[in-house]
């Protein structure tokens, strides 16, 4: 009997059935996909990091090293399982040519290494440790996108190589990691050595990773080589996970919204159905059918829909998974838990099935409230609509009668329209949040969230390039002088980073890199407080603030020239540069050890940025000159493109959902309101009047939805997007809203869609015959 009832029901309301199933399918597909992707991503990262034996602690160091002292430290420290000192040979990008084209303009620090002996292996695409032959070079996997292929000719510092293949580097795979390692055979490496500068990678593998923070403290305490960023295992995991993790986050977000929409659709159709069947339900209750028996009839209907939808969604997720996993496979390799992915996907789809069933069961509890006598006598609920009092035709002066009747209907049947309102709010939300996120990430001001002032040119001077003490400062001064006399340079600032010791709350000494100079010229965005203005103020990066447990207003003791000096924390900012542990101050100091120097400049005409970058590259060949646009596009380009793609897809989904839901809702409403429509027609209203009334209803609801949606997108959405952005290292976040999209395009498109869908949905309102519904 159930089967017959289900089949009849589905045949009777095809659009409703199809739309509901579509949403369940989409929800199941997305949840299953997210589950599959999470398994692959975590599995692939895990596999890669296990196979390559990623170090737990890495200290990059420029300058000379005391190998014996390091070895002694490693031997004495009980936590150390293995230690090695690897080299990274920094080579100028214009010295690296593939197929005759130099890597110049590339913002990465490219360098050469040899395969490590005990851990931190560079792997081939099959996860095997690579041992290059003479004249062979292995290229980081991220360069595959640049069109480099195995077999290509490479010319490095004048020596010919052949590209033997690509390598995966568990430390530097991500585009967000600023260095890239190329792998060559030791004897080739020796030949390249004179052409580059050596940076040391002091690497430790620990017996127990949980002891990492203790080990970090011990390393700092020992006063060992630390002229460069310090990186740890968790950071490598994050770097590897960010790009694809962001995609998964977006899919999860969309799937949550789709599940919400699917539920709302079910609620809408189910409530309408209960209202339609009100009398029958009353009769069933009156003849003594049990609540559970009655529920079973409706539940079986939705259980079949949910089962079909979830099943189909799961199958679709298996069809689409390859495309989405492709990037993970390429950059990170295969997941060791790959076999479990389809199972977890199935669990995701099953969860959707269960959630739908439980939800329907919950909605059906309304049966309890139905009074059999009322249902049989009146055939509907006698509960009166609220909120429309005072909104009277008789008090109307100006408003068109169809608009008035439409709005009045919405106000008097709020419960019915609330579902639709929520769906519209969600649609606006889905449309605006990814778009605003994209707009923010793509905006030039965004770099200021990342610890980079909003400028056009950035010049990096590493200490390793200038052997003698003070060499760095001299070079920076020379650049500053050139800029001073350059009319095209609008403003510039020289910021020198020096290392100081600070005293932590636990009375330990830690090294802190403080960037000295005028930070007001190209200010970064401060999460809390502001930049340093006086000599006793210090701004610290979020990572340092966390580590030192400091907030704005707190005091921090820094040892300068052997004396303790107390600074007030005036601001906290996000930083992704140089390992993220930085600080900013304005005091001048000539005694502390300087490690690097950055020069920021803006141009009077930003259009000349590219030319100016080349000009300075030619003038100061030893300095890394980067156009900030270029830096952003190379570092975040892929992410920005992914976010843009996601925002376009999300907008498409939102428009589709809005259209479908409007169509569904209007058809249901027309079916429900047959009697009222007949009354309208009998009193001489045109079919177009009736359509206009329905349009007025849906436009009124949409207008409210757009207003609320825009508000929520700019508040709650900003918070949500902020949490996604924080995965890049930026903690404070404000949307840079695209006003044309948010306040013009999005509402216009939604209104257009709704008008079209409502017109289609109410097309049959005119064919309702008066006599069919009024004649006794």
């Amino acid at each position: 009997m159930y089967y017959r009832m289900i089949r009849n029901d589905m045949a009777r309301s095809k659009v409703v059935t199809l739309t509901t199933m579509l949403f369940i399918t989409a929800a199941a597909m997305l949840v299953s996909l997210a589950a599959i992707l999470i398994i692959h991503l975590t599995g692939a990262i895990d596999t890669l990091m296990t196979q390559s034996k990623t170090p737990d602690f890495l200290q990059m160091h420029s300058g000379s090293v005391n190998e014996e002292r390091l070895e002694a430290f490693a031997e004495e420290n009980a936590a150390v399982e293995a230690y090695q000192l690897a080299e990274f040979l920094n080579v100028e990008n214009n010295q690296i040519l593939f197929n005759g084209r130099p890597l110049q303009g590339n913002v990465q620090d490219n360098g050469f290494s040899i395969q490590n002996e005990t851990f931190d292996y560079l792997l081939d695409l099959d996860g095997k440790r690579i041992n290059p032959l003479d004249g062979e070079v292995y290229v980081p996997i991220s360069y595959r996108k640049e069109g480099i292929e195995a077999g290509d000719a490479a010319l490095i510092c004048g020596k010919e190589f052949t590209v033997a293949g690509f390598l995966r580097d568990s430390q530097m795979n991500s585009l967000l990691a600023s260095s890239k390692r190329f792998l060559v055979r030791p004897n080739d490496y020796e030949e390249l050595k004179p052409f580059g500068t050596i940076e040391y990678l002091i690497e430790f593998k620990l017996k127990n990773r949980e002891a990492l923070s203790l080990f970090e403290a011990a390393y700092a305490e020992a006063g060992l080589e630390a002229n460069g960023p310090t990186l740890t295992y968790p950071l490598f995991v994050t770097l590897n996970a960010v790009s694809d993790g962001l995609m998964i986050a977006v899919i999860l977000l969309i799937s949550v919204l789709t599940v919400a929409i699917a539920f709302l659709c079910i609620r809408l159709t189910l409530l309408a159905k209960i209202e339609d069947d009100y009398r029958e339900i009353g009769v069933m209750k009156a003849i003594g059918l049990r609540l559970s028996d009655m529920k079973k009839i409706y539940l079986s209907n939705y259980a079949v829909l949910a089962a079909m939808g979830s099943g189909l969604g799961y199958v679709l997720s298996l069809v689409f998974q390859d495309r989405l996993i492709e990037n993970i496979r390429k950059t990170l390799g295969e997941s060791q838990y790959g076999y479990a992915a389809p199972m977890l996907g199935a669990v995701g789809a099953l969860l959707i099935f269960l959630a739908v069933t439980v939800y329907v069961n919950g909605v059906l509890n309304r049966f309890r409230k139905i009074s059999p006598s009322e249902a049989i006598r009146f055939g509907n609920t006698q509960a009166k609509g609220k909120g429309s009092k005072g909104f009277r035709l008789s008090r109307n002066r100006r408003v068109n009668i169809n608009v008035l009747l439409g709005v009045k209907d919405v106000l008097s049947r709020m419960g019915l329209y609330t579902t639709m309102l929520v769906i519209f709010i969600l649609a606006v939300f889905i449309m605006l949040v990814p778009r605003n996120l994209y707009n923010t990430v793509a905006s030039p001001a965004f770099t200021s969230y990342m610890g980079i002032g909003q400028c056009s040119i950035r010049m990096d001077l590493q200490k390793s390039g200038y052997g003698s003490e003070g060499g760095l400062g001299e070079r920076a001064e020379a650049i500053a002088k050139t800029m001073e006399s350059d009319d095209e340079i609008d403003r510039y600032v020289v910021l020198t980073t020096k290392v100081f010791e600070v005293i932590t709350d636990t009375d330990n000494k830690e090294r802190l890199k403080i960037e000295l100079g005028d930070h007001s010229v190209f200010s970064v965005n401060y999460t809390q407080g502001r930049g340093p203005k006086t000599d006793d103020e210090l701004a610290i990066s979020v990572l340092n603030a966390d580590e030192l447990s400091k907030r704005t207003g707190d005091s921090l003791a820094v040892i300068i020239d052997g004396k303790e000096k107390h600074f007030t924390i005036c601001g906290i900012y996000s930083d992704i540069t140089n390992g993220g542990k930085t600080a900013k101050a304005v005091f001048s100091n000539s005694s502390a050890e300087e490690i690097w120097c950055v020069i920021y400049a803006s141009l009077s005409d930003e259009r000349n940025a590219d030319r100016k970058v080349s000009e300075y590259r030619a003038l100061f060949a030893d300095v890394k000159v980067t156009g900030v646009d270029e830096f952003v596009s190379e570092t975040f380009g892929a992410t920005i493109a992914a976010v843009e793609k996601a925002s376009v897809v999300a907008a498409g989904v939102a428009i589709l959902v809005t259209g479908l839901v409007t169509l569904l809702f209007m058809q249901m409403l027309v079916a429900k309101d047959r009697y009222s429509i007949a009354v309208m027609k009998a009193t001489g209203f045109h079919n177009s009047d009736i359509r206009h009334q329905y349009l007025a209803r849906v436009i009124f609801v949409l207008a409210a939805g757009v207003l609320l949606g825009v508000f929520l997108a700019n508040t709650l959405g900003e918070m949500l997007a902020g949490s996604v952005i924080s995965s890049f290292g930026a903690a404070s976040f404000q949307f840079i809203v695209d006003p044309i999209f948010s306040y013009l395009f999005c509402p216009l498109v939604l209104f257009g869609t709704v008008i079209l869908a409502a017109s289609a949905g109410t097309a049959r309102a005119g064919s309702i015959r008066i006599s069919d519904h009024i004649k006794e």
Binding site: K384, L393, G684, F685, N687, S688, R769, K775
Partner: protein, 257 residues
Amino acid sequence: MKQIIIAKNIIKAYGEGQEKRNVLDGVSITVGQGEFLAVMGPSGCGKSTLLFALSGMDGIDSGSVTFEGQELSGLKEKEFADLLRRKMGFVFQQPAMLKNLNLLDNILLPAFRDNGKNAAGIKEKARALMKKTGIEELEERGMTQVSGGQLQRAGICRALMNDPVVIFGDEPTGALNSKSSQEIMDLFTQINREGTAVLLVTHDAKVAAQTERVLFMRDGKIVREMRLSKDLGNKITGDNVAERTRKITQTMAEIGG
């Protein structure tokens, strides 16, 4: 007398194939200006269908219906809706009203469609009609807060808002008790005396007895016609009405209703 409705040989069938049955089987009828007539017949004889066909609310399969010289089937949807609203009034057995409007707003509905700018004028008119029908105190009430008789009066007010040429009543007293029923009939009589044609469908002989012409239907055909004088005689004693009622009941029995 000027004829406002002329229906010729109307045929309307329901059902398909072997189930097909002519509900109206070649009906011809005229309604004159200011005329008061009733259609009677047993259940299922097609009297309500005839009323809906004459008003144009229901289409017909063949034949013709003209209203003031205009062929109804030739009108476009908008032209017909305008005609319906401006020239015809309809009172149904169950008060067909919008639940989310109060009584006054329901009455105002057809007038507002054309004349929303003169809100004060039409409101005044609606209030005058409500006073005339004895429901002036109820304008703020909702559908569930008044009696069936009061709703039916509101329905009559709504039908009269645009000064129609004819009022159609589909068993307007069918759901009322005899006291309310008589009050409604008194109203129809009064409306008719003021010049509006009234065409009622009823199965109540006493209702039909108060009109001036009664048409008897059976199996989709008009089988008999009875002309009555417009003068009802002594209303207080109701003698004349009682006599007419007896005659009508007898005719009904003769045609098998």
